[in-house]
């Protein structure tokens, strides 16, 4: 089997964020790079948050996904620089987040966040810290649903 970069990327497309299972690590911007040299694969990832407890699980999932496809010669490298930011998130990732009920990051305006349920702009920050470190908690004043907002970085 000839291993190339595209093939590895395709496999990793199936690795999702354990806490947001609709978004792949590629769409979230956690997957920084894939290098293939003489059959040896290096997967480069970066944490969203320093204390993100999902990173170990993500490494395990990458490990399992590659081995399942018969790729055993690889290493996973974690890099910090450049620091992860929501700018690394793809448009598809943002759309998936919204469909899942999490408001995607809005770098231009962190005050008026659109409700992912009804689309209203009339929302209110309840807490800067939500169910995970990367999200804050909002409430929609129109449909009255609380929702998570993926914070900008």
């Amino acid at each position: 089997m000839v291993i190339n970069k595209e093939h590895v990327q395709e496999i990793l497309e199936e690795v999702k964020d354990p806490e947001i299972p609709v978004v792949s690590i590629y769409d979230l911007g956690i997957l920084r790079d894939v290098k293939v040299e003489n059959g040896f694969v290096e997967v480069v990832i970066t944490p969203t948050y320093t204390g993100c407890p999902a990173m170990l699980e993500i490494e395990r999932d990458i490990n399992n996904a590659l081995k399942k496809e018969g790729i055993n010669d690889f290493k996973i490298t974690t890099v910090l620089s450049p620091a992860w930011s929501t700018d690394f998130m793809t448009e598809r990732g943002k759309a998936n987040l919204k469909e899942y009920g999490i408001a995607p990051p809005n770098p231009t305006n962190e005050e008026d966040i659109e409700c992912p349920n009804c689309g209203s702009q009339n929302t209110k920050l309840l807490s800067q810290f939500g169910s995970t470190a990367c999200k804050s908690l909002f409430k929609c004043n129109d449909c009255l649903e609380p929702f998570d907002y993926f914070k900008c970085h």
Binding site: Y49, T50, S81, P82, W84, S127, Q128, H153
Partner: protein, 251 residues
């Protein structure tokens, strides 16, 4: 060890993060309301994450096959270089908020300056952590204002906390030899410049919070050189028990 000074410098920051993170974790399940319980533990998690990045780097500098776990779990109190501020007991919510505010106003400007460190690894840890501390500082400053400019009860409690913590706020900006060596070598930050920015921020927030700024200039010292209050021993007893009782144990 190749670079004792850099090792000490990194440990100062790592230990601040770990000990304050552990203190905040004590709030888990005890927060005044659910959202703030979550906020306290979220910040705790960020701090422990930052501590890990520093410990991993420090362990590499130390060599001898040491790991981040050796540094966190197997050093005694006199080896810890955190400031006395972060080991102070939680007290009430107002006290925890004030302690956090006095730490956040340091760490935010510290990371901002450390991003220009000549040491690439430190600069990248700083860039990552700075974004997190911006949220922390916004949260703790908002709460200082809300409690200070709140009811008579909340005002009095947070004023009391400020009075008690005032003499603990400056140790973190007083240079040790590790700090001055780090600055001279180009990988550290200027604490004098940092103090100026920090003090301006503290004053602005305290004024908005209608709190009286204490007059004393005395500063407790010693933590950065390993001389701690009795509180640290109890924290370490909690934190290190498992690894001490069952060496090498894993989940």
């Amino acid at each position: 060890m190749t670079d004792q000074n850099k090792f000490d410098y990194i440990l100062q920051q790592a230990d601040n993060c770990l000990i304050l993170g552990q203190r905040l974790a004590e709030w888990c399940g005890h927060g005044p309301i659910l959202e703030q319980d979550i906020a306290l533990t979220n910040i705790s998690l960020d701090l422990i994450g930052q501590a890990r990045l520093f410990y991993q780097y420090a362990a590499e500098i130390q060599g001898e096959e040491k790991t981040e776990d050796d540094l966190a779990y197997l050093r005694d109190a006199w080896g810890f270089k955190n400031v006395l501020l972060v080991e102070q007991p939680n007290g009430d919510f107002g006290f925890t908020i004030m302690r956090q505010f006095l730490y956040d106003t340091f760490s935010c400007y510290f990371y901002e300056a450390l991003m220009s460190s000549s040491d690439e690894r430190l600069a990248s840890i700083a860039a990552k952590s700075h974004k997190e501390t911006l949220y922390h500082m916004k949260w703790s400053a908002d709460w200082v204002i809300r409690l200070g400019d709140g009811t008579v009860e909340s005002h009095n409690r947070v004023q009391q906390a400020l009075n008690e913590l005032w003499s603990y706020k400056d140790e973190i900006v007083i240079e040790t030899s590790a700090d001055s060596d780090a600055l001279a070598a180009g990988y550290g930050v200027s604490l004098a410049e940092l103090k100026e920015k920090r003090d301006a921020k503290i004053t602005a927030v305290l004024e908005e919070a209608t709190l009286s700024i204490p007059e004393g200039t005395y500063s407790h010292k010693g933590g950065k050189e390993g001389v701690h209050s009795e509180h640290l021993g109890y924290i370490l007893a909690d934190l290190q028990f498992l690894q001490r009782a069952y060496p090498g144990n894993e989940w």
